[in-house]
């Protein structure tokens, strides 16, 4: 009787394994940056090429760094949710304008709303390369020491915002 159960147990174990596998997203590549300081960069600001924004400017507070582009359709989709996050004012949101023409990026922000504390302009994607960006939009959550603690790949939606990003920000703020 007990031996007859063995195939059933193997079957159940396989089912669990495969069910977990099905819920994983194969296009999400785990970032090697998690737990490491944000790679150092200095880039001109989008709105004012004379001024620069560097990775050091982002330190000091729990913050969000969002990689976006005017040519990126999912960025439009996530924009209202980032705007909602900005509205709550719990953490500053910085932007990285990725491989975009300056005027296009600025027109896009004028149309949909500029919710960023500061935007680094990365025409050639050099900063993006150092951050391991492989698809826009991507959103990094940094603790107050400037260490990358979480990375969201793809558009932020209501679920990601309320169940992942906001809880992460609050947890990091409690951490001190």
């Amino acid at each position: 009787m007990r031996k007859a159960l063995i195939p059933l147990i193997i079957f159940a174990a396989l089912t669990v394994l495969l069910a977990v596998g099905l819920t994983l997203n194969p296009t999400t590549v785990p970032s090697p940056l998690i737990g490491k300081p944000l790679p150092a960069f200095t880039a001109p600001q989008l709105h004012d090429p004379e001024q620069s924004l560097s990775s050091d400017d982002i330190k000091g507070k729990v913050s969000v760094l969002n990689v976006f582009a005017s040519w990126c359709i999912p960025c439009r989709q996530e924009h209202p949710y980032l705007a909602a996050l900005a509205q709550r004012g719990i953490a500053p949101i910085y932007g990285l304008s990725y491989k975009d023409k300056r005027e296009d990026a600025r027109a896009w922000l004028a149309r949909f709303g500029d919710l960023y504390q500061g935007i680094a302009y990365d025409l050639e994607g050099r900063v993006g390369l150092d951050l391991g960006v492989y698809g826009v939009p991507e959103t990094f959550i940094l603790d107050r020491h400037g260490v990358v603690r979480y990375k969201h790949v793809g558009p932020v939606d209501a679920t990601a915002l309320n169940e992942v990003i906001v809880p992460w920000i609050e947890r990091l703020q409690r951490e001190g």
Binding site: V29, P32, L33, G125, L129, Y134
Partner: protein, 152 residues
């Protein structure tokens, strides 16, 4: 039609050719070799050599730049892994988190052999399970007799 096929054949070459020249053929060979080993993260099944995606072209440009700077293959791979993780390598390194990947198939094979061995041994044990007892022999004779009578 033929012309179209010919053009299609040229496409993979173009993905590599668009990147400018190297100082020596060795550098170019290293470039080809390395870009075959690096995965394009947008089009995950392809190497950056086979892909014309923008990210793949960026990575090829970086590989080329580092080769011209005289960096070693190991350094170039490290550069990519630091940014994109082990996933960027088609051949993942052997380490704690990849043991299952590397040794899992051999484990399954061994498990299969073990199961087969156990089953085979048990079957043999069943065959040589020993002599029948007196009452079993009697029952067997009865059953066989019944059977032959039924057939007739």
């Amino acid at each position: 039609m033929k012309r179209l096929l010919f053009l299609l054949l040229l496409l993979p070459g173009l993905a590599l050719a668009a990147l400018g020249d190297f100082d020596t053929p060795q550098q170019e060979a290293r470039f080809r070799d390395l870009s075959q080993q690096l995965r394009c993260l947008v089009c995950q099944g392809q190497s950056i050599a086979d892909s014309n995606a923008e990210l793949a072209n960026d990575l090829k440009r970086e590989v080329r730049r580092m080769i011209l700077e005289g960096r070693s293959d190991g350094e170039i791979k490290e550069f990519m892994v630091a940014r994109y993780g082990d996933f960027v390598l088609f051949k993942p390194p052997v380490k704690g988190s990849t043991y299952l990947l590397w040794f899992g198939p051999f484990g399954l094979l061994l498990g299969g052999f073990f199961t087969w061995f156990m089953l085979a041994r048990r079957r043999q044990a069943d065959v040589t399970a020993g002599e029948l007892s007196a009452s079993e022999r009697e029952r067997l004779a009865r059953v066989l007799n019944q059977d032959s009578r039924g057939d007739a």
